[in-house]
């Protein structure tokens, strides 16, 4: 089944692989950075503020965690197309479009996880924060800081999702050779060509990155537990 020799694997590590991995990291890191900037305050806000329709918002956020990647890809594709509402920016088939699509995909995840953890913290610290007479923005900042280990884990979870998905980046990026080809789309392409060495090489790198990410999540949580005991 694995018609791949070690020499072929090693040879394919030159050239394309580095560029593809670098682009994957750039796209996913940028996307999740955006998701964090939007999603963390959003999640914290929903956790702390009682507004009408809040329970619907919470349900919606949790549901959107499971958005199918291809669906997000389709919606962003239609929006960014020249014939679409945001076509004027000319973003389709560029890394920027991929970043936008992955940001859309991961923001609900980051927001929902943040909401969960901040809500627990709010339940614990709410009276203290009210007693200190802190306004909303300060409460959000303090709670996010208090939850920083879990929030970091949420960020890493988002990053894992972004790096592993293929649906959005394929559709909005177009998998253009040397321009919008990332690990997942390259693996899909090479596999479909029946050309496995490059696919396997990329698969190994992707696997290593995902494993490292998950190990990082555990470490971060562990550090939090050890230093602060809970």
């Amino acid at each position: 089944m694995f018609d791949v020799s070690i020499e072929e694997l090693i040879r394919s590590f030159e050239g394309d692989v580095l560029a593809i991995v670098a682009l994957s990291l750039r796209v996913s890191l940028s996307a999740v950075a955006i998701a964090a900037v939007i999603g963390m305050p959003l999640g914290a806000f929903v956790a702390v503020v009682r507004f009408p329709g809040r329970s619907i918002a919470v349900t919606l956020l949790n549901a959107m965690m499971g958005l199918p990647a291809v669906l997000v890809g389709l919606v962003v594709y239609l929006s960014l197309s020249r014939s679409g509402p945001l076509g004027g920016f000319g973003l389709l088939f560029t890394p920027a479009a991929m970043i936008v699509a992955q940001a859309v995909l991961t923001t609900p995840l980051v927001a929902a996880l943040t909401r969960q953890t901040v809500e627990d913290a709010w339940r614990q610290h709410g009276e203290t924060l009210r007693s200190l007479r802190l306004p909303l923005a300060s409460r959000v900042r303090v709670l996010l800081w208090d939850c920083r280990f879990s929030v970091a884990a949420a960020f890493l979870a988002g990053l894992g999702r972004a790096m592993s998905e293929v649906g959005t980046v394929m559709i909005v990026g177009g998998n253009i050779d040397g321009f919008t080809r990332v690990m997942t789309t390259a693996i899909a392409l090479e596999t479909s060509k029946g050309d496995l060495p490059l696919a396997v090489a990329l698969g190994i790198v992707l696997m290593a990155l995902v494993l490292a990410l998950n190990a990082l999540v555990s470490t971060v949580r562990g550090v939090g537990m050890r230093r602060h005991g809970g």
């Binding site: 007693s131 303090v142 800081w145 920083r148």
Partner: protein
């Protein structure tokens, strides 16, 4: 910074004496479900002396304290602090601070937990110095960088008091502040409460610990089933409780007490 705080607070009480009573509660009813927890409580207090709120479990002490602080809204009645009624939004009354029985600390160092207090300095450096000075006052300076969640019970309560003190309150509320502490930690906390009071801050606390009440308080308010049954100077309360419920309460707590005051 500590010296300035002392001066500022000494000035306030003199000015205030001319105004409304510090605290004014009228017809407070707290009835969350079928049960009535506070049943038409009336209470005016000018803040002279340390006031202790005592009573059996379920009497409503904690609810009353939170209502005074503004954390709970009564279903009926009016709460006024320094002549002002309920604060805006869900904030507590300005000028007050509350120390809970189990104070919640954030995941950070002791110093970090003080730095969350607003308005303690204009620059980062000033805020740090202010906070460190306060840690010094409560005897926690060496533990400034220690994780707050790993402090002992007594250290945590002292940190909570430091945090409250840092707010420069005119009224400090304490809800069973030493209920979970051992005697030596209790003594340290009581010493701090005395210092804060000497600084010019009003103190109102709830306590189960009648020894503590006799050590710290000047006035006792006895609460039973949501009603204020007695309000007397502390020695009179112990020596000669006027109501049957108060007598029973004291008997249950200190059966030998009625015959030999501390």
């Amino acid at each position: 910074m500590a010296a300035e705080v002392l001066d500022a607070r000494r000035a306030a009480p003199a000015a205030r004496a001319a105004l409304d009573p510090l605290l004014s509660l009228r017809g407070i009813v707290f009835r969350p479900a079928e049960r009535t927890i506070l049943d038409h409580v009336d209470f005016d207090w000018d803040g002279a002396g340390v006031c202790a709120l005592v009573g059996p479990n379920g009497a409503g002490k904690t609810v009353l304290l939170r209502t005074i602080h503004g954390l709970l809204a009564p279903h009926e009645g009016d709460v006024r602090f320094e002549g002002r009624s309920r604060p805006a939004g869900d904030l507590a009354f300005a000028g007050q601070a509350l120390v809970f029985q189990h104070s919640s600390m954030f995941r950070g160092s002791a110093l970090d937990n003080l730095l969350v207090v607003p308005g303690i300095g204009a620059s980062g450096r000033e805020r740090r110095e202010c906070a460190l000075a306060m840690l010094e006052r409560v005897g926690l300076r060496e533990l400034a960088q220690a994780p707050a969640l790993k402090l002992s019970g007594g250290e945590r309560q002292r940190l909570a008091i430091a945090r409250a003190w840092l707010m420069r309150p005119r009224l400090l509320l304490l809800d069973e502040p030493t209920a979970s502490l051992d005697p030596s930690a209790t003594e340290q906390v009581e010493e701090l409460i005395r210092e804060i009071h000497d600084d010019g801050c009003r103190v109102l606390l709830t306590s189960h610990n009648l020894g503590q009440v006799s050590r710290l308080a000047d006035e006792v308010v006895f609460l039973h089933r949501g009603r204020v049954l007695e309000r007397t100077p502390v020695s009179a309360f112990f020596a000669n409780p006027r109501t049957r419920e108060a007598r029973q309460f004291l008997q249950g707590a200190l059966p030998w007490h009625l015959s030999s005051p501390p």
